[in-house]
Point group: C2
DNA sequence: GAATATACGGAACACGGTTCCGCTTTGCAA
DNA sequence: TTGCAAAGCGGAACCGTGTTCCGTATATTC
C-alpha cells in the first residue's frame, strides 16, 4: 500500500539505506517481542545502532514500522480465510477458526491490540491497514455463514473485527481471558 | 477508599482548600464532557482558575480525579444490581439490563473506557475502584443466573467486566457499535 | 495583630514522539 | 581514479503532557 519496501518502479535506494531498513525491521521485531510494540523509538534506534532520524526516514510514523514488521503475518491471516472456508465443515466453524487465528496473532503481540485501538492520529495507518486487509475476509466468512442460515444476516464485519480487537486488549493480564470472551461473541453470533 | 473527600475524622481542611476541591470537581466534570477524560491537566487547572499544583494536592493522580467525578454514578450502578435482580423476570434478564446500564454509563464518557484499560500505573486506582465496586455486583447476578440454569456456572465476573469494558472502547466511532457487541456476549452467555 | 500551619501557583523536570539540518557516504561520470 | 551532487545519516532540539518542588500567599489561631 504505502510501498515501504516496494521493488517495482522506485529508483532503487542506496545500498546503506536498504541495509538500514533491514536492520531496523529486525531490531524493531526483536524489541516488539521483548518490550511490546510501544517500546520507545529511541530504544529501537539504539538497538539497531542508528539515529532516530533514520527510523523516521524509512518509516514516517511508528504505525508504518509496526505494519512493516507484521505485514507477513497479517497477509497470512487474510489468506487463511478462504482456505478455512473451503476446509471447514460449516461456514460458522470456518468463521470461528479464522477469528481464533486472528486472536492468536493479536494476543501474542504485547500492546498491538492497544495500539490498534489508539485514536492517536499516528496510528491511523495501522488501523487502516488491518481493516483494509482483514475486514473483507471477515465479511466473506460472515456472508457464507449467513447464507447457510447459521447466523443472522446483518452482522457487520467492521464492527465485529473492531470488537474482537478490543477484546484482545490487556490479554497479557493473567486474570483476564480474551479467548473466552471472544468465544462468547462467536457463540452469540449463532442463531439458535 | 482513598477518602479524598472524607468528612469523618480528618482535621478539617482550610476553607479555601475545600472551595478549590469543589471548583476543581466541577471544572473537571465539565472538561470531561467537552473534551473527554484525557483532557490535559493544565486545561482543567485553567478552567478551574487554579495552578496545576493545586490539582495534584487534592488528587494525587489523574485517576483519583476521575474516580471522584464519577463516584456517584458508579455507586448508582452498583446499587442497581440487586434492584434489577429483584424486579426482573429472570436472572439473565437482570444481568442483561445491568450490563446495559454499565455500558450506557461507559459509552457516554468519552475516553473513560480507554482510561480504564490503560496499563499506565497512574490509572491503577481507577481500575481498582471500578473493579472493587462492580465485580461483586456482577458476580451476584452471574450466580443467580447460573443457579437458575440460564448460563454456564463457571463464568468469571472479573473477566466479563474486563471484556465488557474493552468492548466500549472507541464507542464514539460511528462505524462501531459497542452495544451490539455486548449484546452478542450476553447472548453467548446463555445456555441453549 | 502577629505567628504558624496550610495551601497555592507555576516554573522546572521527566519522557516520549517528531522534526530539522549540518555532516557523511554512496554512486555515477569524467 | 577522482570529484562531486544527491541521498542518507545522526542526534540535538522542539513540542506536548504528566508530575514534582518550592518560594510565596492566605487562613486560622492565639
Amino acid at each position: 500500500m504505502t510501498g515501504t519496501s516496494g521493488e517495482s518502479s522506485a529508483p532503487r535506494k542506496r545500498a546503506d539505506a536498504r541495509r538500514n531498513e533491514k536492520t531496523l525491521l529486525e531490531a524493531a521485531a526483536a524489541m516488539f517481542v521483548s518490550s511490546g510494540v510501544d517500546v520507545p523509538v529511541r530504544d529501537i534506534a539504539a538497538k539497531a545502532g542508528v539515529g532516530v532520524g533514520t527510523i523516521y526516514r524509512h518509516f514516517p510514523t511508528r504505525a508504518d514500522l509496526i505494519v512493516a514488521v507484521y505485514r507477513h503475518q497479517v497477509e497470512a491471516c487474510a489468506e487463511a480465510g478462504p482456505v478455512l472456508l473451503a476446509k471447514s465443515t460449516t461456514p460458522h466453524a470456518a468463521l470461528a477458526s479464522w477469528i481464533n487465528l486472528f486472536v492468536d496473532f493479536l494476543v501474542t503481540k504485547h500492546g498491538l491490540a492497544e495500539a490498534l485501538r489508539s485514536n492517536d492520529a499516528a496510528f491511523q495507518t495501522l488501523h487502516a491497514y488491518f481493516l483494509d486487509r482483514l475486514v473483507p475476509v471477515c465479511a466473506d466468512l460472515l456472508d457464507a455463514a449467513a447464507t447457510a442460515g447459521e447466523i443472522a444476516p446483518d452482522m457487520d464485519a467492521l464492527v465485529l473485527m473492531h470488537g474482537i480487537g478490543n477484546l484482545c486488549i490487556g490479554a497479557d493480564n493473567p486474570r483476564y481471558d480474551a479467548r473466552l470472551m471472544v468465544g462468547l461473541v462467536i457463540a452469540g453470533l449463532r442463531l439458535r
